[in-house]
């Protein structure tokens, strides 16, 4: 490896040439990335712009990007004439109950699987992991029959109850995270006479808080954006989650060519998650990157 010690004797003009070339490459790369970014963001901007157009402007050729008079009352109309508000409420109920209770269940299980003595520990963990292999479409029909026998169709319960029993992906990552915590810490707390519950709540939870927070946000987004399970169960418009509400509006208002209204509803469906993402961007991105490298 020590064959070339040339760089020290390398002449200045040569180095400058390389620097200039690298600056040129940087510029080209920047232009390409910027063009790509336009391609990525344009459809979303167009969605927002359409939501503010008048019904005539929607069909204008050449297209209008900035509506002459932004029709903000489309949003008012959407608020009063559609079930968007119900949708938001239902989506919040489902997403929050699933993630709050489910995160707690997962953290508790991850603690037991990572730090406690228990019979068949590995078998339990592997068994839970095997659940990933069975895709939801295979389970959805039996689950639907189960819940319809309980009279839960057209309620939010089938979306909440199975999920609060925990999510193996989250258990997996929290367990992984806990493996970097020394066992001696837990042992010391035990000798001090702390109960397992106290160890979990006072010691483990604070340690895994960053991992929990990141997984919590990712899970929240996934539940918020879920579509297949909600359309199986929810029939009454007032009881539907936001994603189903906007999908139904898409069908209902497309025949009336009321695209501004449809796009306004889509904007509203997208906005909460976008805000959460922009606020917690760093944590989300780190956690996602971690998922990929650890998986």
């Amino acid at each position: 490896m020590t064959t070339t010690t040339a760089p020290t004797t390398g002449t200045a003009p040569h180095r400058l040439g390389r620097k200039a070339r690298s600056r040129l490459t940087d510029t080209v790369v920047w232009v390409v990335l910027a063009a790509g970014a336009i391609f990525m963001i344009a459809p979303l901007l167009w969605m927002f712009s359409t939501s503010l157009k008048s019904k005539l402007e929607v069909f204008a050729l050449p297209p209008v990007w900035i509506p002459e008079v932004p029709q903000w009352d489309t949003y008012v109309r959407m608020w009063t004439d559609s079930f968007v508000l119900d949708g938001i409420r239902n989506s919040l109920v489902v997403s929050l109950s699933v993630t709050v209770v489910g995160t707690f269940t997962c953290a508790l299980a991850a603690f037991a699987l990572a730090k406690m003595r228990m019979p068949f520990k590995n078998a339990i963990f592997i068994g839970l992991l095997s659940g990933i292999m069975i895709p939801f479409p295979t389970l959805m029909i039996p689950q639907f029959v189960m819940f319809s026998r309980l009279g839960w169709v057209d309620t939010l319960l089938p979306l909440i109850v199975p999920a609060i029993f925990g999510n193996i992906v989250m258990i997996f990552f929290l367990r992984q995270y806990l493996s970097s915590v020394p066992d001696s810490l837990v042992e010391a707390a035990k000798i001090d006479g702390a109960s397992y519950w106290q160890i979990f709540w006072r010691m483990i939870m604070p340690i895994i808080r960053p991992a929990v927070a990141a997984q919590f946000i990712l899970w929240f987004m996934a539940v918020w954006n879920d579509y297949l399970a909600p359309i199986l169960y929810l029939n009454t418009p007032e009881r539907q989650t936001l994603q189903v509400v906007i999908a139904n509006m898409n069908v209902q208002y497309a025949t009336q060519r009321d695209y501004p209204l449809i796009m306004a509803a889509s904007v509203v469906a997208l906005l909460p998650i976008l805000v959460v993402f922009l606020i917690f961007q760093r944590q989300i991105i780190e956690s996602v990157a971690l998922t990929g490298t650890k998986g």
Binding site: T4, L33, A37, M40, A42, L44, V58, F59, L61, P63, S97, V101, F104, L108, A109, F111, A112, M116, R117, M118, K121, G127, L128, M133, I134, P137, T138, L139, M140, I141, P142, F144, L150, V161, F165, I168, I191, G193, A194, S195, Y196, W197, F200, M221, N225, Y227, L228, L232, Q243, I262, M263, A269, L270, I273, F277, L278, Q281, V288, G292, T293
Partner: protein, 327 residues
């Protein structure tokens, strides 16, 4: 803190009350009652702590799986009695044109996976340079990933509108007269692939970027001194170093791709022109919840599940063999 006993669980055996103070155990070990007694109770507590996921697994995964296996052997509308018909459903599926078409479409969509991975790897390499506005770029590329698939599907359905859609207006800019994408049997599938690539780019890019950044710089510097060009560096260092990420992405995206449903259901509610966009899950969903052929639909779902499992196992096999070749 006994959050698992929320109203939601009434009517079914709720998992043991996690939050209860330690006196809940029959041995009634009090906190501070000596570490040995606590030690003896450790197993009990551990089992209690994993009780919820285990119970959830039994109720919502294992039981439905067994049930599905049986239901697939019956003629059944979901309400009435199940009539055992043996393998009839599977035999019928083998000759079912629509199911075969739906499976074909589902796998056709996966063309988007290598395309998306190639683009996102290129993007990640580009983003590994120190250039202005990197964070902004990363955010923008990631926004479609976090966007709700329903909203995105609605948006793209509108964007693919033959007369007024964004896509054709963009193409008209170059003098191209675009098709009415989603109503055209030839173009409907590519249209959905394009949308899926657009939506997924940011995610793969992010994972690739993390992998590339973990490659020690000295590796590149050493090969540069040896006279390796950018392309050789890419082949010799970058590509092998991001292999685990590529593997992870391919496996997860194939599984997710096999489950594609939302965008199909929203963009082409009838399964597209000549059934050209219907996916396997779309077909299963229609059979089960529209035509009430629950037994038949379950058989289709099991076929899909087994196909995915086989493909995943093959991928793991290939991955193992290839990494040997590299070593």
């Amino acid at each position: 803190m006994t959050s698992t006993t929320s109203p939601a669980t009434t009517g079914r055996r709720s998992p043991a009350p996690h939050g209860a103070p330690p006196t809940a155990a029959p041995a009634s070990s009090k906190p501070g009652g000596g570490s040995s007694r606590l030690h003896r109770n450790e197993k009990k507590w551990a089992l209690l702590f994993v009780a919820a996921p285990v119970l959830g697994y039994l109720l919502f995964v294992l039981y439905p799986t067994v049930f599905a296996a049986y239901a697939s052997l019956t003629r059944w509308n979901g309400l009435g009695p199940m009539q055992f018909v043996g393998l009839d459903n599977y035999v019928a599926l083998a000759g079912d044109e629509r199911f075969r078409q739906a499976l074909f479409n589902t796998f056709f969509y996966m063309i988007g996976i290598p395309v998306g991975l190639a683009i996102s790897l290129a993007l990640a390499i580009a983003m590994n340079r120190k250039i202005i506005g990197l964070t902004a770029f990363r955010t923008i590329y990631y926004i479609p990933v976090i966007s709700s698939i329903a909203a995105v599907a609605i948006l793209w359905q509108w964007a693919y509108n033959g007369d007024f859609g964004l896509v054709n207006q963009f193409l008209a800019f170059f003098g191209i007269d675009g098709p009415n994408w989603l109503a055209d049997p030839t173009w409907a599938k590519p249209a959905i692939i394009l949308m899926a690539v657009w939506k997924g780019l940011g995610y793969s890019m992010l994972l690739y970027l993390a992998a590339i950044q973990s490659v020690p710089r000295s590796l590149y510097e050493a090969t540069a001194l040896d006279g390796a060009g950018a392309w050789r560096q890419f082949r010799a260092i970058t590509l092998p170093m991001v292999r685990p990420v590529t593997f992870f992405l391919v496996v997860t995206q194939v599984i997710a791709g096999a489950m594609i449903f939302t965008e199909i259901n929203i963009m082409t509610p009838t399964g597209g022109p000549e059934y050209s966009t219907a996916s396997a899950v779309f077909y299963i969903w229609k059979q089960a919840f529209q035509y009430r052929q629950m037994g038949y639909a379950t058989a289709a779902a099991i076929v899909l599940g087994i196909l995915v499992l086989i493909i995943t196992l093959i991928q793991f096999r290939l991955n193992k063999r290839n990494s040997f070749a590299i070593d």
